[in-house]
Amino acid sequence: MPFEPVILFFALGLFAGVIRSDLKIPGVLYESLSIFLLLAIGLKGGIELAKVPLASVAGQAAVVVAVALLIPLTAFALLRGPGGLVRADAASIAAHYGSVSVVTFAVAVSFLARTGLDAEGYLVVFLVFLEFPALIVGVILARRDAAGTRWGHLLHEVLSGKSIVLLLGGLVIGWIAGAEGIKPLDRLFIDLFKGMLAFFLLEMGLVVASRLGDLRRAGAFLLVFAVAMPVAAGMLGIVTANAIGLSTGGAVLLATLYASASYIAAPAAMRIAVPEANPALSIGAALGVTFPFNLLAGIPLYHWLAVRTHGFFA
């Protein structure tokens, strides 16, 4: 099985955090790197998008987004029923798992590159359109009556969030300028991408280490959920990818998107829309368990499954 060295940087950060090293990645560097990664992913997606007919991508995206709504709904049912969580917590966690993690996606792209498997470059479009619908579902699940919710405010919050703006902005710039126009920027946005990702994963390791304490409060059910949910969602992603005719590489990426849990857009949106939910639970699960699980075991697993099942559903 191919082995992706950027994972080692995550492990180093985790290690440094666990031994309580005084290594700290400045918050500003974290912000700067995440702006870089979001823009770069958007740009690459936009360049690829320019090569395919928009209509066919739009059709696939509609299916992908519609199917993805199953994820927060299932998550909510599980957490509320067998999990026994209060409504707000179940809804907030469901929103995190229904949305996506951009960095997990980036690691999957890196992983694919090492296996030599190609994937549809325009999948970044799905990334953008998978990020926010689950957040809205989460809020609806949290407030059945929806009386108190300032929907306009919330929609603005979600759609003008920095990850959407940078991904979509990068996408549009890449699409308008094309590979040729972006060429002078390749040195920064393409060549340095992997290194920046490694750096960012070092920081993520430190952040995850600092959130491990939250897990103690999470309870056994949530811990199991945080591993089982991505696996189930990943399998749904592979089935969907096969159904809409994506390549094997595309299936790995879509599985990763479905399996990943948001830790940028979702925490911010849930904190404002469902403040009574306990963020230690959702962030503990998404960041403390699911994120490292996907990096270390999930992505290779989705790869194995995608290769195994390719053509099976066609």
Binding site: P26, G27, V207, S210, G213, R271, P275
Partner: protein
């Protein structure tokens, strides 16, 4: 000089960074003429917040205003934020030279 000094209240709020815009709006609605924010980190009832990461960062907001405004804002915070958010708030006495600058238009 000291006879020109007027007493005002300084409301200080330490809370999660994501609330900055909402609080700014609430403070303006509550009659404050301004506010000042610095980035912070810390520890409280909800564990360590080290500021290395957007969801784990705090801010420290100060509002200089007259006493009724300060008390009104504090009550607003207690009603709207204390239950659900990571927040600490306190009020202290300060002396200023230009009292009109920190007088609520509303009150």
């Amino acid at each position: 000089m000291s006879q020109d000094l007027h007493t005002r209240k300084l409301l200080t709020v330490i809370c999660e960074a994501g609330l900055e815009e909402e609080l700014a709006a609430d403070f303006a609605a509550g009659g404050a003429c301004g506010y000042t924010v610095t980035d912070a980190r810390g520890q409280g009832a909800h564990g360590h917040r080290d500021g290395s990461w957007s969801s784990g960062a705090n801010i420290r907001i100060e509002v200089l205003c007259d006493e009724p405004t300060a008390l009104g804002l504090l009550e607003m915070l207690a009603t709207r934020y204390f239950a659900d958010y990571y927040m600490v708030a306190f009020v202290s006495d300060v002396a200023v030279l230009r009292p009109g600058k920190f007088q609520s238009v509303a009150n």
